[in-house]
């Protein structure tokens, strides 16, 4: 048993959902209670997907336990195949179904479905989201792909992108373009963007481009062994790593065609004198291992930062991060406990954090700017604009994004204050920005007073003396969220003045609210 408040990774079946949701023509039948359907909103809200994830949940209830949960699964499975007409299904259990041991995989195999049913083992009490994605993709590839004749023209597959991935959408576009400029066609990009039919033709490619080891390394290894496809090792994040990647692709493809590098502005932007202030900025890196490894090199060699701490949350890649730590002369932090990460950051006292959304919040509490380099994702990590991390444009994007919080630190804090609002306690906002000591939210009155006196002095200032706020109206005003309180005060006073009301009561306040409501 381990007490946890915020987690870097969801359970393994969420990883399986990321694979399924990125694909077309595949359906996931998940044996799970109703509450687990919350996972849909990750895709529809955070990623703004315009379709429901292709997942049927059995949503068994207590009354079904011990009687017919297995039957429920069977019906759900048959219904899903009929309704959604997929080319293949994957089946698995969430944490609760794992305990009741209905064996959905075994059942689906004996149901006589006309399409492949791919069983998943997702050990919820040992493993996490990235494992779930990696394992699911491996099982799909194993079940469907076979050795076959290579395409006539040189081609490769792109492996690793999933739904809800950190900038996967744009990375795939960027790398596809880069390969095209080198005369290499993309046979299949998977799992995101592929169908089971596409997975069947993976073997036609001459080699694989592995973009995200966290979600596709097992599949890449399997393809290497079974389909005889070598795969690329450098992850093209940053100018240097992109050049390494291009070199490896050239070797694998037997070509010396190079992509157009004139789009790469990052090296000159870093060399330009206005970037001098970046020299030796002390940065702390935390995220998934792949992004941290790439970011460490960019930070040191391409931005001129000093890396003062680093670590990753996914233990599967601990060895890589230990090696990286050795290279940088640092003891890496391998942990998925954000309190430990917070302590490490506080001790290292960096000038900037390159981390995840979790570190962004830690940074806010500690008053340290942060740029996000890795999953877990947040709605902000799905910008409308093209914003890859990989390839030449990715290097440009990294420069802009990492510099941004340094110059815009204050604005970031202000934005955060608004986003942090929560109906029962608006005073939570100000407590996050500024101060170096985290303040428990329970001290709401004190914090609120601070907000009134410190951060937002103008709204509490007397306004000229024509109108008087009665005590209870003043108290009522303070219950209004702080970021609209100033407006409420001004509106009410304007309203009172226009009606010739000299003393503002609760009634006046709400009369004004009603007046301005339209």
């Amino acid at each position: 048993m381990k007490l946890s408040v915020w987690t870097y990774e969801g359970p393994p079946h969420v990883g399986a959902m990321r694979v399924a949701t990125g694909m077309t023509g595949l359906h996931f039948v998940l044996h799970a209670p109703q509450g687990d359907t919350y996972a849909d909103l990750l895709f529809t809200m955070i990623e703004r997907r315009d379709h429901r994830p292709p997942v049927t949940y059995t949503t068994f209830q207590a009354r079904d336990l011990g009687s017919d949960t297995a039957n429920l699964f069977r019906t759900a499975c048959l219904d899903a195949v009929e309704r959604f007409d997929p080319q293949a299904i994957i089946v698995g259990s969430s944490c609760t179904a794992e305990l009741i041991q209905d064996d959905p995989g075994g059942m689906s195999e004996t149901m006589g479905l006309a399409i492949p049913a791919i069983p998943l083992e997702l050990p919820s009490y040992q493993r996490k989201e990235n494992f779930g994605a990696d394992e699911t993709f491996l099982q799909i590839v194993r079940a469907l792909a076979e050795p076959m004749e290579r395409s006539e023209a040189i081609s490769c597959n792109i492996l690793g992108p999933t739904a809800l991935g950190f900038r996967h959408r744009d990375d795939v576009a960027e790398i596809t373009g880069l390969l095209r400029e080198m005369g290499i066609a993309v046979n299949v990009a998977a799992p995101m963007g592929s169908s089971p039919a596409d997975i069947r033709r993976l073997g036609a490619a001459h080699f694989n481009v592995l973009l995200y080891p966290e979600t596709a390394e097992s599949a890449a290894r399997w393809c290497e062994k079974t389909l005889g496809q070598p795969y690329t090792k450098p992850i093209p994040i940053g100018a240097g790593a992109t050049r390494d990647f291009i070199g490896e692709v050239q070797a694998l493809a037997g070509t010396d065609a190079a992509p157009d590098a004139t789009r790469l502005r990052q090296p000159w932007w870093a060399a330009s004198v206005d970037s001098t202030y970046l020299t030796g900025k002390r940065v702390f890196l935390f995220g998934d291992a792949t992004h941290v490894k790439a970011a460490a090199r960019v930070a040191r060699d391409e931005m001129g930062f000093e890396v003062v701490g680093l670590g990753c949350y996914n233990r599967e890649f601990a060895r890589d991060i230990r090696a990286l730590g050795k290279e940088f002369g640092l003891t890496p932090l391998i942990s998925d406990d954000y309190l430990e990460v917070e302590t490490a950051i506080a001790e290292a006292a960096p000038e900037m954090i390159l981390g995840t959304q979790m570190e962004r919040h830690i940074g806010k509490r500690l008053g340290i700017p942060c740029a996000v380099i890795s999953a877990p994702v947040h709605v902000q990590d799905f910008p409308a604009r093209y914003s890859p991390q990989m390839g030449f444009e990715g290097a440009n994007v990294l420069f802009d994004t990492w510099v941004h919080p340094l110059v815009m630190g204050l604005e970031e804090h202000l934005l955060a204050m608004f986003r942090e609002d929560f109906e029962f306690n608006d005073a939570a906002g100000p407590s996050h920005h500024g101060g170096h000591s985290p303040r428990p939210q329970d001290e709401a009155p004190a914090v609120e007073a601070a907000a009134e006196e410190g951060s937002m002095p103008s709204e509490a200032a007397p306004t000229g003396g024509e109108v008087i706020w009665l005590d209870d109206a003043e108290r009522e005003l303070r219950k209004i969220p702080f970021f609209v309180r100033g407006k409420a005060r001004r509106n009410t006073e304007a309203f009172a003045a226009s009606r010739g009301i000299g003393r503002i009561s609760i009634d006046t306040l709400y009369e004004a609210k009603a007046h301005y409501a339209r």
Partner: protein, 427 residues
């Protein structure tokens, strides 16, 4: 209530109900922790569950309340599944560590989840033992928020119901307002009641453990949320008496709710009139402004929070909408009876869910506004429908007079937005 249509002769209390038992697209009761932990300022909610439970809470909270919140998940691991004696010891250890770090905590809720229930971790035994160990400073209670037992708002119901047996006994004649309301709303309700001379009035839950109400045969209580069926039963078991009333949504709901309470306390008509006239009038005007957008439009409510029947009553009677389907995860008839009485016959009343079938009904009906969960909203918008996500209704102050306009506004805004963006679906 001169502007409102007369109450329907029959209403929906006895209307046939479409009962569905297929795939449900709803949160589990753990979600209630997101608002309960803000309401009860000295309480901590410790979920005994899995990584999924932790992830649900995190996703539902939208990483909004990152400063160390007063909830957490004791994540069960492989070792806990092997031997149950361990789980109780581990719980003791985690709780001791937690309480040491958070000396401000006065009530601790051990919250059961699907995994803890399936492997039968006895949380009531744990709560008793821990209560004894940490008394008198901390009171430890337990309830289930699991997805196999509870749907979304039923988590709050289970939590409040678990508190009832622990409330002190009293012979005093007191009014208890039941339901976790935002403080600003609760204060408005209390001041209206005080102005009518009704008192003493207590709230369940109170903001702090020390202010929790006592309960006994002379206690009367009014519910402010339609999903409090179990709490309602627990209170009547303690001898307290329920004041049936429509839920205080909108001007009409609030007036009828207050009227029911006022009648219980023999408040004279002129006093009632004097206290409610001004805010009633304001509420009506505020609703009227929003109703311009809503009037004559059709409405389809997916089951989510159990607020659906009272909201349908508000939106049809006060905002002039037409309800096509009113879904609810569960219908507590003795709680929402007064709301159903006011809801004119016509809409399909559905209980439970089979989400794919319901989506088909919704698409066929092409309602002007669909109220649904976050998992369905964007996909339906992409099909050209206009949606309002239901979770906002439990995260926003919407009860009583001064919020009536805001409540209508929650539904009007998506419709106005569509017009503003020029996205009105081409018919």
């Amino acid at each position: 209530m001169s502007d409102l249509p007369a109450p329907p002769a029959v209403g929906c209390r006895t209307a046939p109900v479409l009962r569905e038992r297929g795939q449900r697209e709803v949160f589990c009761g753990l979600t209630g922790i997101i608002w309960l932990h803000r309401k009860m300022q000295d309480a901590f909610f410790l979920v005994v569950g899995s990584r999924t439970c932790a992830h649900l809470l995190q996703s539902a909270a939208g990483v909004m309340i990152f400063a160390e919140p007063r909830f957490g998940t004791a994540i069960l691991e492989e070792t806990d599944l092997a031997g149950m004696a361990d789980a109780q010891d581990e719980l003791d250890r985690e709780v001791a560590r937690l309480l040491e770090r958070r000396p401000d905590i006065r009530q601790l809720f051990l919250v059961g989840s699907c995994p803890s229930e399936v492997i039968k971790i006895d949380l009531s035994k744990a709560a008793e033992r821990l209560s004894a160990a940490h008394a008198p400073h901390v009171r430890v209670l337990n309830y289930s928020g699991s997805g196999i037992e509870t749907t979304f708002t039923e988590g709050e119901d289970a939590c409040l119901a678990a508190m009832v047996p622990a409330l002190e006994a009293t012979e005093a004649r007191e009014l208890v307002i039941v339901g976790a309301l935002p403080d600003v709303v609760e204060d408005q309700a209390l001041s209206l009641l005080a102005a009518m001379g009704i008192g003493p009035v207590r709230c369940l839950p109170a903001r702090r453990a020390a202010e929790d109400p006592a309960v006994g045969p002379n206690t009367v209580y009014a519910l402010t949320q339609p999903f409090l069926g179990a709490t309602h039963e627990a209170l009547s078991r303690r001898g307290a008496r329920h004041i049936p009333a429509p839920m205080p949504f909108g001007e009409e709901g609030t007036t009828r709710w207050l009227r029911a309470v006022a009648d219980e306390f023999d408040v004279p008509d002129d006093v009632f009139e004097r206290v409610t006239a001004a805010p009633r009038d304001r509420a009506r005007r505020a609703v009227a402004a929003q109703a311009e957008t809503l009037r004559g439009r059709s409405l389809f409510l997916f089951p989510d929070s159990q607020l659906e029947p009272p909201l349908a009553r508000f939106l049809t009677r006060e905002c002039g909408m037409t309800a096509i389907e009113v879904g609810s995860p569960f219908l507590h008839r003795d709680v929402i009876g007064p709301d159903l009485d006011l809801l004119a016959e016509g809409p399909v009343i559905s209980e439970g869910q089979d989400v794919d079938l319901q989506l088909e009904r919704c698409r066929a009906a092409r309602p002007d506004l669909t109220v649904c969960g976050l998992g369905l909203a964007n996909p339906l918008e992409a099909e050209g429908m206009t949606t309002k996500w239901a979770i906002e209704l439990v995260f926003t102050p919407v009860h009583f007079y001064e919020q009536a306009g805001d409540l209508a506004g929650l539904f009007a805004r998506p419709m106005r937005r569509k017009q503003a963006l020029g996205l009105e679906a081409a018919e």
